[in-house]
């Protein structure tokens, strides 16, 4: 009885869509003629941006999985990465891509400090308290940047900024392509690290079973420190990769946080592969949303997806029930 229901409804929907497509195929074809380029462009930029979202989300998920902490400050940490790169660029003329290792290191240290002094004391506090704590850290960091760098939007004009190529009429922006490639590369490196190295396996073990890991001699406190540092480093890397094509403001992280929650919930809280997939999907949703819902904020589509996921499949695509 229940099995039948699961087939009937989607089939009806599919048939309805097919019927509509057949009826309106001419207008659909005309529309496609006009808008194909726009759609492809949106797919490309959405994909590229999605890679960045994935990177930030993977860092967040790493922290969530290993420490069980919801790191609201992930967006702020990304902004720190951005401004570290900005400072290195304006003070020493260092190209953003060259400053990547520096910002990664800085963010790792910042993350480790945050974990050691503010996160560790509240590891067993109720969830909403943890959320509020990381929120407080966000407010502090973002406004510190605001005080130090002022609110004026800043841009980095590096050698690569603005360079692009064309496939047909679709523009491929190199900085965005590099950001996407960088994001995927770092994510892959992280996956390999977690899967193949001893430290990575120790981290996974701690994520699955904190007490058990401690019992077999894993230094859980150190693991937590490293995991948080890695998560922060991911955010920092994402920030740096974005600088050649983004406008830097201290509050850039605010929208990022909202997008990141959508990514993480869509992918499944605590699932790193889910964050990767979710990032790409949300990137596409955002850019396609801008095409099909002109005028409204591009985030509206993201939030609608967010709400739908929360209501109908809160565990996300790859999350455990």
């Amino acid at each position: 009885m229940a099995l039948n229901k699961k087939i009937v409804l989607p089939s009806l929907i599919a048939v309805a869509i097919l019927a509509l497509a057949l009826i309106y195929h001419q207008s659909l074809a005309d529309w496609w003629q006009v808008n194909a380029v726009v759609v492809f462009q949106a797919l490309v930029s959405g994909l590229f941006m999605g890679g960045i979202y994935s990177l930030v989300a993977i860092g967040f998920t790493l922290i969530l999985g290993v420490l069980g902490i919801i790191n609201f400050a992930q967006g702020a940490l990304m902004v720190v990465g951005m401004y570290v790169t900005l400072w290195l660029f304006t003070t020493y003329g260092i190209d953003p891509y060259l400053s990547l290792p520096i910002s990664v290191l800085v963010l790792f240290l910042v993350g480790a400090l945050i974990q050691r002094f503010t996160i560790r004391p509240i590891m067993d506090a109720p969830t909403h308290n943890q959320l509020l704590l990381t929120l407080g850290i966000t407010l502090f960091i973002v406004n510190l940047i605001l005080v130090l760098f002022k609110a004026d939007p800043r841009i980095i004009q590096s050698d690569i900024s603005g360079t692009r190529m064309f496939i047909g009429e679709v523009m491929i922006s190199f900085p965005r392509l590099v950001a996407f490639a960088g994001g995927i590369t770092i994510a892959t490196a992280l996956f390999l690290f977690m899967g193949k190295t001893d430290l990575g396996k120790a981290i996974r073990a701690s994520a699955e079973e904190r007490e058990g890991s401690a019992l077999v001699g894993i230094n859980v406190k150190r693991i937590h420190l490293i995991a948080f540092g890695l998560g922060a480093a991911c955010a920092g890397a994402a920030g740096t990769l974005m600088t050649p094509f983004s406008t830097l403001t201290p509050t850039a992280g605010d929208t990022f946080i909202m997008i990141m929650f959508a990514v993480v919930v869509l992918g499944g809280m605590g699932n790193m592969l889910g964050s990767l997939l979710g990032g790409i999907i949300i990137g596409l949703v955002e850019s396609l949303g801008a095409v099909f819902l002109p005028g409204s904020s591009r985030l509206l589509g993201v939030f609608v997806v967010f709400i739908l996921v929360l209501l109908f499949r809160p565990t996300g695509l790859l999350g455990k029930k």
Binding site: L135, N143, L299, I307, L311
Partner: protein, 349 residues
């Protein structure tokens, strides 16, 4: 013997408590006579945040459903009464009630969707947040409410209780918000002692255990949501009539969601006096910080470097939040209670 003296102690303490409250109320009532314009505005703000914090407290503190999207109800209240006033000439007081009803319906809608889907804890919080953001986006893009340009409350020139506007003096605003704050506290007080309050707290502590004892979780969570959202919206109307101008960022803004809950978190979530205490400390603190940054006094030279820079007050907020969560996870009231309980244990011996 021991029991007798503890009982006696409790009874006299109750009388002390009541006396203190009455004294406090009297002070609050006559306060405006002694305050200059700056301090009066400050007092109004403190009462305002105390009120909003208490409304939020009903939902999160007592019923245990962490709401991270209360700006939604605030904004609905502000926009409803203001739009009705500007476009249909409806009296703001009536608009206030209508706004409250709309916010309550929206809150019940969100609650129904979320609770029926079994969303709890952080998932529920994120849902309320998402809905609040949706309202922010919608309001920024709806021409009918002027998008991001907002709506101006038309000045009537003069003072009028009927029309909820006072331009020559702010004192009536003070009494209105004082009344609202007192009412919100009375509501919480009576809820706390009633079956409703007991059921709220049961759900907060352990929803499944509550259900096993005959408590209908959906019904009571919705009730908490409804009361909380209705009252919050009234605050939105007050805001509009006091500041004469609203726009999406002001009344639906992201940070507003945070501001509403900072007071209760500092003071103590789920306590009667928490929100008021939190507001009493935080509001002057942020105002003071902002004033110091704007014009640093001579004897604090290091502030000169920060002069005019926006953001220092919120940095302070963030720091306070972090410190409070780490060292006073149950807020000030919770901390005081802990001290008292430890004191009692020594007394009982």
């Amino acid at each position: 013997m021991g029991k007798f003296s503890v009982e006696h102690l409790i009874r006299t303490r109750l009388n002390w408590g009541l006396a203190l409250i009455i004294l406090g109320l009297v002070i609050l009532l006559i306060l405006p006579q002694f305050l200059g314009p700056f301090l009066l505005s400050l007092a109004i703000l403190i009462l305002f945040w105390a009120y909003l914090g208490q409304c939020w407290n009903i939902m999160t503190g007592y019923t245990g459903q962490f709401s991270f999207g209360h700006a939604a109800y605030f904004g609905i209240g502000a926009y409803t009464s203001t739009w009705l006033l500007v476009n249909m000439g409806i009296n703001p007081w009536i608009g206030m009630i209508i706004g409250g009803i709309f916010a309550m319906l929206f809150g019940l809608f969100v609650g129904f969707l979320a609770f029926r889907s079994g969303l709890r804890g952080i998932y529920f919080g994120l849902t309320t947040f998402a809905f609040s953001m949706v309202l922010l986006f919608l309001s920024s893009n709806l021409a009918i409410i002027n998008k991001t340009m907002g709506i101006q409350v038309p000045l009537i020139g003069g003072d009028s209780w009927l029309l909820f506007q006072f331009e020559t003096t702010k004192v009536p605003y003070y009494y209105i918000i004082l009344g609202m704050m007192v009412v919100s506290n009375i509501v919480v007080y009576f809820i706390g002692r009633s079956k409703l309050g007991y059921y709220f707290k049961a759900i907060r502590e352990d929803q499944d255990a509550a259900a096993a004892l005959g408590v209908n979780p959906l019904r009571y969570k919705m009730t908490g949501m409804g009361i909380s959202s209705f009252l919050t919206a009234l605050g939105g109307t007050f805001y509009a009539q006091y500041f004469y101008y609203i726009d999406p960022d002001l009344v639906f803004g992201f940070f507003l969601n945070v501001e509403i809950l900072l007071g209760p978190v500092l003071g103590g979530v789920g306590t009667l006096f928490g929100p008021a205490m939190g507001a009493l400390i935080l509001t002057p603190l942020s105002e003071l910080t902002r004033a110091l940054i704007r014009q640093p006094p001579g004897f604090l030279p290091f502030l000169l470097a920060l002069q005019g820079r926006a953001g220092v007050d919120i940095m302070l907020y963030g720091l306070i939040l972090v410190v409070v969560i780490i060292f006073l996870p149950q807020g000030l009231v919770g901390w005081i209670r802990q001290l008292r309980r430890r004191g009692h244990r020594y007394l009982e011996v």
